[in-house]
């Protein structure tokens, strides 16, 4: 279970017969969320996290993918959120997508940088790139990475279909590493949406939107421009989420379709659907 005072995660947590679920978004600091009305007009970047925390109990930190996480910046950020608020932090791109630097040194820096977050950390998200396929070298690298991050709650998101095999799931299960369930456009070669739980302590879901055309455009504004309908989310709940919740003791769900504040809108919609059950 997550290391957080239980009583503080009340209203925003979905809890019924199945395991509790925390719903949030991927990132919170978007200027366009002011234009779109999620944040009040005139909201400045430093005020966003505390406002966000009044609507959601958890957030996935995106910026840690762009730059190496730094302890002092993380400490300043944590101070703006309530103690009960949780974070998932993406692993830096120099350890996943651009592995041309000394990855051992990068890993050391990451471990140092994330220390202040440890008490409020839901998971470190290891999002692997689409060209990271199931080869011997890549398997070895991933194993080294998981070894190097031992002691932290970990979640792995594959983008390449070649990782969808029982031996991979068994290894993750043995290491108690979470396999990330993704909802994305159904394109050939992409890792499929599966309700497999490899870590009973935590399941981890990411909703990327289903914008087929935008997905390969190379433009984030097109890639993540999608709004889920209530029917789509209900269907997803029946097909995948109920199953995930029956196999784990805690779950986290993030909406990544940030364009025009569709992510917080859809996150609230899914929460409503789950509350109505």
């Amino acid at each position: 279970m997550l290391n957080v005072p239980e009583q503080k995660r009340r209203v925003m947590e979905v809890q019924d017969d199945l395991c509790p679920v925390l719903i949030g978004t991927s990132g919170y600091s978007y200027t366009e969320w002011v234009d779109s009305g999620f944040y009040p007009q005139g909201t400045r970047a430093p005020e966003m996290l505390s406002l966000y925390a009044s609507s959601f109990p958890i957030v996935e930190l995106n910026y840690t993918w762009y730059q190496m996480i730094r302890a002092e910046a993380i400490s300043r950020m944590i101070a703006k959120a309530p103690d009960s608020f949780l974070f998932a932090a993406k692993l830096t791109r120099t350890l996943t997508h651009e592995r041309d630097r000394d990855w051992r040194q990068e890993l050391k820096l990451y471990r140092e940088g994330i220390k202040p977050l440890q008490q409020q950390l839901a998971a470190i998200l290891i999002q692997l790139p689409p060209d990271f396929d199931w080869t011997r070298n890549n398997r070895c690298y991933l194993a080294h990475l998981l070894d190097g991050l031992q002691g932290f709650p970990l979640a792995v998101e594959f983008r390449h279909i070649s990782w969808a095999r029982d031996s991979v799931f068994a290894e993750l299960e043995q290491r108690r590493v979470t396999l990330v369930t993704v909802d994305a456009p159904s394109l050939p070669g992409l890792f499929p949406c599966l309700d497999i739980v490899t870590n009973p302590s935590l399941f981890f879901v990411r909703f990327h939107g289903r914008n087929h055309q935008g997905w390969q455009s190379g433009n984030m504004q097109k890639k993540f421009d999608y709004s889920y309908s209530a029917e789509e989310l209900e269907e997803w709940n029946n097909r995948y989420l109920s199953s995930l919740r029956s196999k784990a003791t805690q779950g986290v769900i993030f909406f990544n379709n940030h364009v025009r504040a569709q992510a917080p809108r859809d996150a609230a919609l899914l929460r409503e659907i789950l509350h109505q059950e």
């Binding site: 600091s29 234009d35 970047a45 995106n62 730059q67 190496m68 910046a73 300043r76 984030m220 504004q221």
Partner: protein
Amino acid sequence: MQDRSIIHLNVTDFAVAVERLQDSSLKRIPLIVAPEQAARALVYDMSEEAYGDGVRKGMRLDRARRYCRRAQILMPRPRLYRRAMSALVAQVIHYTPLVEQGKEDGHLFMDVTGTHRLFGPAPDIAWRLRKQVQKELGLDPVWSLASNKLVSKVASRMVRPLGEYIVGAGEESEFLAPLPLSMLPGLSHEELGLLQDFNLERIGQLAQLSREQLAVPFRKRGEYLYEASRGQDRIPVLPGGTGTGQVCREYHFEDDTAERSEVQGVLTSLVHELGRQLRQEGKVGQRVGVRLSYSDGRRSVRQATEAGGTDNDFLLRQLALTALDRAWQRRVRIRSCVLICDRLLPRSRQQTLFVLNSPQEQQQEKMVAAMDTVCARFGSGTIRLGTAV
């Protein structure tokens, strides 16, 4: 007011990076870029390895050679670096028209505020740009993102020669506080020395002082120190770069000099060149600055201003000599001087209703116009004031 998103891209050791692109065999060799045949050559740029051995920009080449004996010396090719700089700007201009570039130094600032609907969040733009520059040009820039130019520049300094840094809006002063004062851009050696005399070592310590306290030792500069130490910088990104924000000319003396008349003569020549450029571009400058580099490596900068702005050589010279008097306060020989004219305004084409210039000023204007005509026909430097000789 909306927080600005300023990206600073910096290709470190730009001249070296461009030379290595041209000749990949130079990649593993320490390099010093300097005009080897010059009587007293100064280092124009150097590679990271040479920097590690103690070589610095502006250092005398013979000294640099002693510090890094294994270095290969390359002739500077400013035209090539300018071309590379233009190619760099061409990569980024699609994202925003607000791009301010350095001369040929691999630095540029971009203001991407308000472009999120088109291109997504600012960190993503910066990351994509780096990838694009790597792929298209083979250069690997450092990038940083902050709410103003000052903080983004410091952030780049923190990670160079490789990396990235995002300073969140509202975190500027906390970001700067633990850094040494030498990281704050724009401080002269004298100012740093004075701050050290006050036992101030960190930017955060400086930020604890009030405007009034800073005004005592630093007078007008106190205002800059007050704002900069708090990470405040309201200067906008100036499209087109420093080329539109200022014009400057530099002169290196063959032998260090303490002769005031020699320096004044050089400044007069520089005023001619600079004034002609202003007139060609249809601009007037409101401030003239002189930067002196002493033989011991110290520098001094002082300015003189003309409220309405001018492009007249006589007035520009007068301002330059006033600035020179203010700047030259030490009994140390001068190695080089730079004449800078900034706060540029477009020259008003409308004639005044009444003639306000004195007969002497009118005469001077006619003379400057005649000199321009001669220079245009026979080349610059063919005619000059007697005081420049």
